[in-house]
């Protein structure tokens, strides 16, 4: 029989980024005993890398802003396939969630009259992002962490969850292992919250950290939960492209918010050449007006550099493919030029964008106050994920909740910058609240010994290969998958390439049944990679299946074989789940009719 220890909590939270920590604080405040399982050390989760800010209609900088405008911006950015209920709750509750962080010690940049300062960002009509220079994510995660450690929360650092445990259809716990010694633990819980973030590591070029292997979504999927809109993967327009070893590292949109401009290899601001009709009225038609907007002129419209990420990324790809790129296959992002406009520009850049300044100086020998940066698209964010109820964040399985990037709905086909940090606060809080409520009415359920034993047997199998010197390196399978997804299911998609990718994934799946892990179970990176690969393969297949089915171009999902939006797909989400036989089943789920008052807001803001 398999060896493991058992730990019991009312609410088990998987993931210790912003959503997980906010959920934990909420559930603990409501009296639940809370356990937080964290794949890394506390405070290292991918939230820490968020740069530009957290979107909330505080109206501190422009008092024309309010939740209605934020709601309309989010829906427009998501091309109207968002879960409108989530977009409504998000816009209404984000300001309170941000102010609450200040009460817990966060120190945001200030307006001249001492309130929280807000900056411009792509797709947001007014300056809306509360920020701390360009390290907002660090400020948020540290604030939540330092608050949470004084609450009734147990932290399990460097634990990895391998599978969810069920009693009938209800999720009643999870099996995990502790990295330091390689020991197994069963967590029994009345409610389980997934807060595991995204899956950028399915691609070769990504801004995402080591952790982002889609674990929670894959765990939910394997347990039979429904996924939604997996085809919507955001490629951030500005990642570093040079030198190769840093390719993909994020360059914050804040650079453009502060007046940075994009130029092609010929020196042209190419974004002026292609402004989508949905944004024509809100976008400057000359460089001077765009500059005035970034400097707070309320009568000016925003420069095209601040159009939504999907559009800017595609325009960059076009420039590069048509031979107008920069020397290393990107385009130029120039903030140094603002010295023509303002005195003390160098100091201003270093104050507003300190970590960008450091990052380029240390990693690329480039001084951004003097020279333009070279940038190109990088895999950044998953709009899709676990399908949840908008109010409670509960998945299609009772007792299983999801919040933050691993949950689908809020962002539709494309996320606006800054809406991710607000997402994890608003829905982290909600998931914590509803999980605690669910736990109050539920009891701990027995865990299936045979399911635990089978899971343990599966994850230990690669050691047998290692001992016998046969099988495949998990690193190799992972690298091949990343190359393939990058090439075949990237920014520009077409059916036959994605079908090839699906075929390739099947072959890699076969090979992944024969992985090899060397050494023992103590802090074994190869073993962990073998588990990551399993999740990444599930996620990659889900992305492909959603992307093949959505025969149109919308938001981040762009297909050359269907370059236009379609009426049919405007009204549906793609919903995937694994059937009894383990094969994916896909259906097109009609989006629920929006209430008249929300429709009216969208009409008014057009």
């Amino acid at each position: 029989m398999a060896q493991y220890e058992t730990i019991r909590h009312d609410v088990l939270i998987i993931g210790a980024g912003g959503a997980g920590l906010r959920g934990a604080v909420e559930a603990a405040a409501r009296g639940a005993s809370v356990g937080v399982v964290s794949k890394s050390l506390l405070g290292k989760a991918h939230t820490v890398m968020a740069e530009g800010g957290v979107a909330a209609a505080l109206g501190n900088v422009d008092d024309r802003d309010n939740w209605r405008v934020h709601f309309a911006d989010t829906m427009r950015g998501g091309q109207y396939v968002n879960n409108w209920r989530m977009a409504e709750l998000h816009a209404k509750e984000a300001p309170d969630r941000v102010r609450e962080l200040e009460a817990w010690g966060a120190v945001f940049d200030r307006t001249p009259d001492g309130r929280i300062l807000q900056r411009n960002f792509g797709g947001h009509r007014y300056p809306r992002l509360a920020h701390v220079g360009d390290r907002t994510g660090l400020e948020m995660i540290r604030t939540l962490q330092d608050h949470a450690i004084f609450e009734r929360i147990s932290f399990y650092m460097e634990f990895t969850i391998i599978s969810l445990l069920k009693d009938g259809n209800r999720v009643v716990g999870a099996l995990g292992y502790q990295r330091e010694k390689g020991l197994f633990f069963v967590f029994q819980a009345k409610a389980v919250v997934l807060a595991t973030g995204g899956l950028g590591r399915a691609y070769k070029i990504t801004s995402n950290s080591w952790e982002c292997t889609g674990d929670g979504i894959a765990l939910a999927c394997d347990a039979g939960a429904e996924l939604q809109d997996m085809e919507f993967v955001q490629f951030h327009p500005t990642g570093m492209v040079w030198p190769p070893s840093v390719a993909g590292i994020l360059v914050t949109e804040g650079v453009r918010g502060e007046g940075g401009v994009l130029r092609n290899g010929l020196g042209r601001r190419f974004l002026f050449d292609d402004i989508p009709p949905l944004y024509k009225d809100q976008t400057a038609d000359n460089e001077e007006e765009g500059w005035r907007y970034t400097q707070g002129d309320k009568s000016a419209r925003r420069p095209p550099e601040l159009l939504t990420r999907d559009h800017v990324a595609r325009c960059i790809v076009r420039e590069v493919r048509e031979g107008r790129g920069s020397p290393h296959g990107g385009v130029f992002l120039d903030i140094a030029w603002i010295k023509q406009k303002i005195p003390n520009a160098e100091k201003h850049i270093r104050t507003k964008l300190p970590s960008m300044y450091d990052q380029f100086l240390k990693l690329a020998d480039l001084d951004i106050t003097k020279e333009p940066m070279e940038v190109g698209p990088t895999t950044h964010y998953l709009m899709g994920g676990v399908r949840v109820d908008g109010d409670s964040q509960m998945s299609s399985l009772p007792g299983l909740f999801a919040a933050g990037e691993c949950a689908a709905g809020l962002h539709g086909a494309n996320r606006l910058g800054g809406n991710s940090l607000s997402d994890l606060l608003v829905f982290g809080q909600r998931a914590g609240e509803y999980a605690a409520r669910f736990a109050k009415d539920a009891s701990l359920a027995p865990v299936s010994e045979s399911a635990v034993g089978e899971s343990i047997r599966q994850v230990l199998a690669p050691f047998e290969n290692g001992a016998k010197g046969r099988g495949e390196s998990p690193y190799r399978v992972q690298a091949e998958l990343q190359d393939m997804m990058q090439e075949l299911v990237g920014i520009v998609r077409v059916e036959d390439e994605m079908v090839r990718a699906l075929d390739g994934i099947q072959k890699l799946k076969e090979r992944s049944r024969n992985l090899r892990v060397e050494g023992n179970r103590m802090y074994n990176a190869g073993w962990h990679t073998a588990i990551d690969v399993r999740n990444l393969l599930t996620m990659s297949e889900a992305i492909c299946r959603g992307a093949i089915e959505r025969r149109e171009s919308r938001g981040a999902h762009y297909r050359v074989d269907y370059p236009e939006k379609s009426e049919k797909f405007a009204k549906v989400n793609t919903v995937l789940h694994k059937g009894e036989d383990g094969a994916f089943k896909l259906r097109l789920e009609p989006i629920k009719e929006m209430p008249a008052e929300l429709k009216q807001i969208i009409e008014e803001m057009k």
Partner: protein, 247 residues
Amino acid sequence: MTATTATFSIWRGDRQGGKLVEYQTEIAEGMVVLDAVRRIQADQANDLAVRWNCKAGKCGSCAAEINGKPRLMCMTRLSDVPTNRPILVEPMRTFPLIRDLVTDVSWNFEKKRTVRKFTPRKPDAPDGTWRMAQIDVDRVQEFRKCIECFLCQNVCHVLRDHQLFDEYIGPRLLTHSAALEMHPLDSDHRLSDLRFTQGIGYCNITKCCTKVCPEEIKITDNAIIPLKERLVDRYFDPVAWLFGAGR
């Protein structure tokens, strides 16, 4: 871009013992130490234990000692270390070893709970919000840049050489205390703890912590010394000191 080969001498082992093992790998323009270590892990040593997350200097996970110098592996470029002889990569020495390059830093997390939490004054405005001037938040924002890599704890001789883990909280947590004490909204007091249970007196301002901080926080000058000054103001009457009565 020219590919050349470099040798890395990496510490392998656990609490029972270990040794330096040499690996050769290809290096290319722009690479950092972490890139090379990961390449070695993928190609030659699948079970090599190394902690990393963001690879962009933002999370502070990959602290190690490179050629004897405490640094982040992700921010140490190979162009900045000599590659004509083996590059030495070892775990932080101050903390108990788990395996290879990974150490047990949990003491830092436990100790943080001994620093009294942020306690704001009553809100300034009827809507429950506060007002703060940018100039006042600038000071604490410097401390809040900390990415908790614990390199400062690793080099502090009070911890590294004297192992006073029970009596002293170290530069990281002194900086954390300073961020709270100087927070414009905070209303709690931490000086008594700093003096009597957290051992601020052990710091004799050698500034080793400041030198290794990847965030370039002036730990000693801006965090620790001002705290020490506040302590002196509070506990030691300067006139009495002048006459030798304070001792």
